[in-house]
């Protein structure tokens, strides 16, 4: 369980999050959505203990930011938005770093399995610095997966934190990555993802946390959160929502009008 209570966070002198309370449960994909500058990434970074905050954040009962990094590394892995790597490590070496940080360091097949899960098994020996943006992102996802490979552990559920996991991926890999996240949650793990793509969020997430101006504007199942009123408030354009096929709301940007 990820519990966030009355969270305030500032970047520089500007307060970016104004009292956000949110819970993410294992077995669930929680998508953090909202317009640019709403505080999505800040909320994720705060939930990871990367920035100083006021408020309470607990993951599986550990106080985030106070617990030892090595302890937290065993129950959660993070896919960053910034995927740069210094020095010419190979893809397999990057994934191995994740593997060694988690509970599965002894598994000799894990690197192959993690790379296969993101469709990069043929690229294990390539230098990371020669990869395309999308391949880098998937390599990092393989690293994160190798760190928390089993969604359930003896100490409770493990967690994936994904910062815009499909931002630089093509359509096929977007679906592949979202299915991975879905399957991880279905097997008992927790997934928290910052998402730009509302359609993919609606397809794969159990719940959406929708931020506007650093406040939680709505929270719940996609069909309840993604209302025309909220989207107009958030994005400043009228959105024609559809619900066919029956997997929740979706829309096409072509049908969005200026108010």
């Amino acid at each position: 369980m990820l519990e966030i209570a009355d969270l305030h966070a500032s970047l520089g002198r500007r307060e970016v999050l104004h009292g956000v309370s949110l819970t993410a449960r294992p077995g669930e994909v929680l998508a953090i959505c909202g317009p640019n500058g709403a505080g999505k990434s800040t909320l994720l970074r705060a939930a990871l203990g990367e920035i100083p905050t006021q408020g309470h954040i607990r993951l599986n009962g550990h106080a985030v930011g106070k617990a030892r990094p090595a302890e937290m590394a065993r129950i959660r892995a993070v896919l960053p938005q910034d995927t740069q790597v210094a020095f010419a490590f190979t893809v397999a070496e990057i994934v191995a770093m994740g593997q060694e940080a988690g509970d599965f360091a002894a598994d000799p097949n894990l690197i192959d399995q993690a790379l296969a899960a993101v469709g990069l098994q043929a690229h294990a020996a390539r230098s990371f610095q020669t990869l395309s943006g999308g391949e880098r992102q998937r390599s990092h996802l393989a690293r994160a997966l190798a760190q928390v490979w089993q969604p359930m552990g003896p100490q409770g559920p493990r967690w994936l934190f994904l910062d815009e996991p499909v931002a630089s991926l093509d359509l096929g890999h977007q679906l592949q990555v979202m299915r991975l996240a879905r399957a991880y949650a279905d097997d008992g793990g927790g997934v928290v993802a910052v998402m730009h793509d509302l359609n993919l969020s609606a397809m794969f997430a159990d719940r959406l946390a929708f931020l506007i101006d650093g406040r939680l504007a709505a929270e719940g199942p996609p069909a309840e959160v993604l209302t025309p009123a909220l989207l107009e408030r958030a994005y400043g354009c009228r959105v024609a929502l559809n619900t066919v096929p029956a997997r929740g709301p979706w829309f096409v940007p072509q049908a969005c009008e200026a108010p």
Binding site: P69, R76, A86, F89, E93, A96, M97, E100, A106, I111
Partner: protein, 353 residues
């Protein structure tokens, strides 16, 4: 150097380069043997063998071997290993292969510390100078290098990212500042101190004695002990500070120790040998090309290659224009600066291409 990856034949996981390890050990042994048996005194290989296994040496030869060549060799090995390991630590810390203790001003800071110790050492309270004794110059050099490293890190790194241009410019500023204060120190120095300063600043292994070695070895040894423990942390840092934390590393501790280690190794090396540049950039670079960037392998191999290369460079510097000596810093710069420029060109391509 334990905890290497479990299966060493998997694609993308480079096997432990045992051949390279053996080659480097041989290089160090061969360079050491050559260094002990070459020189003006005409003590040759046969004499070395008889010293090791036979009836021993004449009194004159024993002095040449044990009091001149052997301390010089030991100093070369220690300083070479220290500079190379210091380079690896700095480059891991700054996530950039251009971070060399000489280029980014840490050697200058260490040099300033040494100069201040020579000139102002007499002003220390008696109990303190008694306590520190012969360690004064190395410790002061370490403190100077430490201050320089901390200032450099504060200046060039923001939010866990290092800007290369800022790092290099800050290095220039630090070197200029250290140079200016060193000038003031020289102005203040009396005749005896000036003589000490001149000898020190010539930067060579020529003045090697067992006493100097004893002063520098504790610091260098300490760094060699803590460096392997930083290897995994430095690997993780290549992915950025936040990711290193999420992979379980105590990043602040890794950074503190890397800064301390780089400053201590550079400080000790500078204190006993003056400024010898570019070992810290050439050695790690060659090794990364040969066996990849994994710091668990890079650190021990860098110590070996640094030691071997510096002993060889010292050998060349004292034989090429014999009976005179070419300052060793000239040699290392001759080979090192093209390597530096080459990395810079490649980085430029990588950043803009």
């Amino acid at each position: 150097m334990v905890a290497l990856s479990p299966d060493l034949t998997r694609p993308g996981l480079r096997p432990v380069p045992w051949g390279l390890t053996a080659g480097l050990v041989l290089l160090v042994i061969a360079a050491s043997a050559l260094s002990l048996t070459s020189g003006a005194a005409g003590l040759g290989f046969g004499d070395l063998l008889s010293a090791l296994f036979g009836e021993g040496l004449s009194k004159r030869d024993a002095v040449v071997l044990y009091d001149i060549r052997l301390p010089r060799l030991a100093m070369g090995l220690a300083v070479g290993a220290a500079l190379a390991v210091s380079g690896v630590l700095l480059q891991g810390l700054f996530r950039n292969p251009l971070a060399d203790p000489g280029i980014v001003g840490i050697s200058s800071g260490a040099g300033l510390g040494a100069v201040m110790a020579i000139v102002l050492g007499g002003l220390l309270p008696l109990w303190l100078s008694d306590l520190i004794g012969m360690h004064l110059v190395p410790v002061a050099a370490f403190l100077g290098g430490w201050a320089a490293t901390l200032i450099l890190y504060r200046t060039a790194t923001a939010g866990g990212r290092t800007d290369v241009a800022t790092m290099l410019l800050a290095g220039i500023a630090l070197a200029a500042l250290a140079g200016a204060v060193t000038g003031v120190m020289v102005y203040l120095a009396d005749d005896r101190q000036l003589r000490d300063l001149t000898f020190w600043s010539m930067g060579s292994l020529a003045g090697a004695t067992w006493a100097k070695l004893a002063a520098a070895l504790p610091l260098i040894g300490l760094v060699m002990l803590i460096a392997p423990g930083l290897a995994r942390g430095l690997n993780a840092l290549a992915l950025g500070e936040a990711q290193a934390v999420h992979m379980g590393q105590d990043v602040q501790r890794v950074k503190r120790r890397a800064i301390f280690g780089a400053a201590a190794a550079t400080g000790a090396a500078v204190a006993v040998s003056g400024g010898i540049g570019f070992i810290g950039i050439v050695v790690p670079h060659l090794l990364r090309l040969a066996m990849g960037p994994d710091h668990r392998r890079l650190l021990p191999h860098a110590a070996l290659l640094g030691a071997g290369l510096l002993v060889l460079a010292d050998l060349v510097s004292r034989t090429i224009v014999a009976p005179a000596e070419l300052p060793i810093g000239i040699l290392t710069a001759l080979f090192g600066s093209p390597v530096f420029l080459w990395i810079l060109l490649r980085q430029k391509g990588a950043l803009r291409g």
